[in-house]
């Protein structure tokens, strides 16, 4: 779902506007800038409350995961049910390197994220090579997530098993859990969003759209489907790795449940279902709504699971493309009715 607001008029007008937008790139990045400014002002609203600040950071973390999943799944239909595991690989790598070899945070996170990207590349490559359907990619990546969780539990010496791992880092901006950490995650998210926008506008975006509409037709039109799937897989996994690694340092403590399927993949799925799969700002809106809803539902204990299940059902039954695109589509229709067509 491309949400550059091209007013739906005649074909020519649409093409002209698209042309103008390409000439004025600032316009295309406006949603990214607005998001950054709005979220940048959020700490002023929150004030000194550490609690709400940590909620806001969690929202940014999930928005980051969401953008990555959006690039992988929303653009190229590769159902990666291993976001948590990819984030965890990076998180545990960074933590273990930091604890044992005293590697600085940034280096550890970078190495971890590169590992995640490598793994994502492997999944993409394998699924393209073997021409795996959506569910098979889903099952393979889900199996990997479960294998990863079990290895974490089994390798106690390295990972601390179920009790988890405390990250003994020097105090820094991220580990300080203050407003600074919030802005680090916000900067990362802004870069992600800009990157996604840039991808959408480049030839990669055209290829994504083509292969999402009809993979066979795209291939026949000379698009190297394998290459673009690989690109999406690598970029998305790199993003997941960066967020997952930084989050480990932010929390100061990680355990298998930090990166479990139920803790990462499922919430991201719910958020994206809400925000709209494939849309630029969908993950941000989804994560924001999710943060609020999750907080409101906290007293409900296990009924929370039921509510999330119901949300998923309603979203996928009623709004196949997410609530935000449905709303903007409605707005567009209203606007069109008001301006008489020439």
């Amino acid at each position: 779902m491309d949400d550059t607001r091209v007013p739906v008029g005649t074909e020519e007008a649409g093409a002209a506007v698209a042309e103008a937008q390409r000439a004025r790139p600032l316009r295309a990045y406006l949603p990214v800038v607005v998001t950054a400014v709005v979220l940048g002002a959020l700490p002023l609203l929150i004030g000194d409350s550490r609690y709400f600040l940590s909620l806001a950071v969690l929202m940014l973390v999930f928005a980051g995961y969401g953008v990555a999943f959006n690039i992988i799944f929303g653009n190229t239909e590769q159902l990666f049910l291993c976001l948590g595991a990819l984030a965890g690989i990076s998180g545990y790598t960074a933590a273990i390197l930091g604890n044992r070899l005293q590697l600085p945070m940034l280096l550890g996170v970078l190495i971890g994220a590169l590992l995640s990207a490598l793994l994502g590349a492997a999944f993409s490559w394998v699924s393209v090579r073997r021409r795996l359907g959506v569910i098979f990619v889903g099952i393979i990546t889900l199996s990997f997530s479960l294998v990863f969780a079990n290895v974490l539990l089994g390798q106690r010496d390295l990972t601390g098993g179920e009790t988890g791992l405390i990250i003994e880092s020097a105090p820094g901006v991220v580990a300080g859990r203050g407003v600074g950490a919030y802005y680090v995650f916000l900067a990362l998210l802004t870069v992600f969003l800009a990157c996604h926008r840039w991808l959408q506008r480049s030839h990669v975006g055209w290829a994504f759209r083509a292969l999402r509409d009809d993979e066979v037709a795209a291939e026949l039109a000379g698009i190297d489907v394998a290459r673009f799937k690989l690109i999406a897989g690598v970029i998305g996994s790199l993003m997941v790795g960066l967020v997952g690694g930084l989050y480990a340092y932010y929390e100061g403590f990680i355990s298998p449940s930090t990166y479990a399927v139920g803790q990462v993949d499922i919430p991201v799925l719910v958020m994206l279902a809400f925000g709209g799969i494939g849309s630029l700002l969908g993950p941000v809106v989804g994560a924001a709504v999710f943060a609020v809803v999750d907080e409101l539902l906290r007293p409900l204990s296990s009924i929370r699971t039921t509510v999330y299940g119901a949300i998923l059902l309603v979203l996928f039954l009623g709004f196949r493309h997410g609530v935000i695109p449905a709303l903007t589509g409605l707005g567009r229709r209203v606007r069109n009715r008001r301006t008489p067509r020439t």
Binding site: V134, S143, V147, G154, L312, F316
Partner: protein, 284 residues
């Protein structure tokens, strides 16, 4: 040798669990990720009915009937929009919707019955000599599984309705041309898979216990078996169930539980990579 027997017994249970999942997939190209929840609902319903005062066999029958009804409700509500789609989109929507439904069921069951667990004790005396009591339970479970699976195979092979099911699996349009209503067949098989999940729950209750939190684990086990056997192949699910059951018991006896689960998962991954159609599936 006792380990092998245990493995076969467990394998039969796995096959029983997976066969419902694979039937629905073969028939409608639909993946039901709430399959384990059907089993759990059966287990919880049976324990609740026993608590109310029903004798165990009656409670179990009623609980299995409830699983069938739940499956019917699924088919009449969630599956409607799914069947309107085709190919990949259909599998994807079915997967997402049934995950949602699984969460709804899980949350409710864990909230209302956190400690209920089906435990069918047929040894009579409570604390028994360890091995013997278990042996009896798993023997009964195996018998139950063989009975259910045998009935299923006879049904598919020799009855008119069973043949209708197989014809829809082979060629939906062709079956339709022969006057078979695929939608009706799909509904019947969905209910059948719910009932099979219910029977699997009873088998599980005979050998160990089944509680509110076990749904997802069961679904994943069933999925692994189904994938290794070949999505859509009933015979494949049985063979893979037996194979993985023996591997599981041997491995957890000699190596350890956590490595065992990894081995099963790797088996599923490897199957997808090497032979996506599974052990007994039709060639890709």
């Amino acid at each position: 040798m006792a380990v092998i027997f245990d493995g076969i017994a467990y394998g039969l249970q796995l096959g029983l669990l997976a066969v419902g999942l694979t039937l629905i997939y073969g028939l409608g190209g639909v993946l039901n990720l709430a399959h384990g929840q059907f089993a759990v609902v059966t287990a919880i319903a049976a324990t609740v009915l026993v608590d109310v005062g029903l004798p165990m066999p009656l409670a179990i029958l009623a609980a299995i009937a409830l699983a069938g009804m739940l499956a019917l409700a699924f088919d009449a509500s969630l599956m409607r929009p799914v069947y309107r789609l085709r190919g990949e989109a259909r599998v994807l929507l079915s997967l997402l919707l049934t995950i949602g439904a699984a969460f709804v069921i899980d949350g409710l069951l864990i909230y209302y019955y956190p400690f209920a667990a089906l435990n069918v004790d047929i040894s009579g005396s409570a604390v028994n000599v360890l091995g013997v009591a278990m042996r009896r339970g798993s023997l009964a479970a195996s018998l139950l599984a063989v009975l259910a699976l045998g009935t299923l195979i006879l049904f598919l092979r020799y009855t008119r309705r069973g043949k209708a099911v197989r014809s829809v699996i082979q060629d939906e349009e062709g079956a339709q041309l022969c006057g078979i209503n695929p939608a009706r067949v799909r509904t019947a098989v969905f209910v059948l898979s719910g009932v099979l999940a219910g029977v699997a729950a009873v088998a599980e209750g005979l050998t160990s216990s089944l509680g509110a939190t076990d749904g997802l684990d069961l679904t994943i086990l069933a999925l692994i078996v189904t994938v290794v056997g070949g999505l859509g192949s009933v015979a494949g699910a049985l063979v893979a169930g037996l194979l993985l059951g023996i591997v599981y018991t041997l491995s957890s006896f000699y190596i350890g539980a956590y490595v065992t689960f990894i081995i099963l998962l790797l088996a599923a991954m490897l199957t997808i990579l090497v032979r996506p159609s599974g052990l007994m599936g039709k060639g890709a």
